[in-house]
Point group: C2
Chain length 174, copies 2
């Protein structure tokens, strides 16, 4: 499926494929569908980025709150989206020692208490060790700067999910 095929999709089929490129926010690909014809997958990503930037700050925080904790209760209970499950596995969070689980729980709680949203980072681009270090460091950030950093990570996650869609299809698909 090349970009012409993407451009020919109904919004329903478009959402079937791109609905979770931003975690639990199908409204975002549903909004950018209107910008067809897209010139490339990168063009879709750019429209998603612009749409996120157009949201009020509360909406950006809303996106962050739709994300699960890293190594949190949804990972333990198997309630993650497939995308998140694979990302957390890639970073090593499905294979933690009990002491590491406990450490992550504690850091996540402290972070959420401080910022009112979960710590979001592109898990595919980091190891669990990097992530724990970064989380600790971010606890000292100013809230507005931290929100901006986290939204930057949402966009990285989106870009990798889109590439993953591409890879999970045959070379002629997407």
């Amino acid at each position: 499926m090349d970009i012409n095929a993407v451009n020919a999709l109904s919004y329903e089929d478009f959402l079937e494929i791109f609905g979770n490129v931003v975690e639990k926010c199908p409204i975002i690909p549903a909004a950018v569908w209107i910008h067809r014809p897209f010139t490339s997958l990168a063009d879709i990503e750019a429209h998603i980025s612009d749409f996120i930037d157009s949201l009020p700050e509360s909406g950006k925080e809303g996106i962050l709150r739709c994300h699960p904790d890293l190594a949190g209760r949804e990972l333990q209970s198997g309630a993650l989206t497939r995308d998140s499950q694979e990302e957390q596995r890639a970073a090593g969070f499905t294979d933690l020692q009990p002491s590491e689980v406990s450490r992550m729980r504690s850091l996540n709680s402290e972070y959420k208490e401080r910022f009112g949203f979960p710590f979001v980072i592109c898990a595919r681009l980091n190891t669990k060790r990097d992530i724990m270090r970064e989380l600790l460091q971010c606890l000292g950030n100013d809230p507005a700067a931290e929100r901006a950093r986290a939204i930057g990570e949402v966009k990285k996650i989106c870009a990798l999910r889109m590439r993953n869609l591409q890879l999970s299809n045959s070379p002629n698909k997407l």
Copy 2:
């Protein structure tokens, strides 16, 4: 659970309860959670309404595209959210004659072809007969007026979902 109890909820527990008051758009309650303390459920609804109004037009259309067709393939296949399933049942769409299913399919297709989003109406406030009449009439609307009408229906659906949450708990809850 009175409004003080709602105000004491973590964003995670708030989303557990209010996450689908706008169909498949948890970003919306996740965004308005920041406005605690709420004075009442009506105050939460007002913040949701304001948030929706603050979205770019593409975002409002994005909300509409997160809604299923009435009497569509998701109803037939059992893939609706529980909220939508109950609403479509209330309007009589779970008990259609084959000729009515076929008529709805045809009207839905014509509508989506014209507007690029599905026909949205508060099913709990209408019978299937009213809805089919309204759908037919709306096909003649100007696209901007039709988007505005549909967003008004999203807000009515949200209000009834919130009251339903209230009813589905004990008198001391919500």
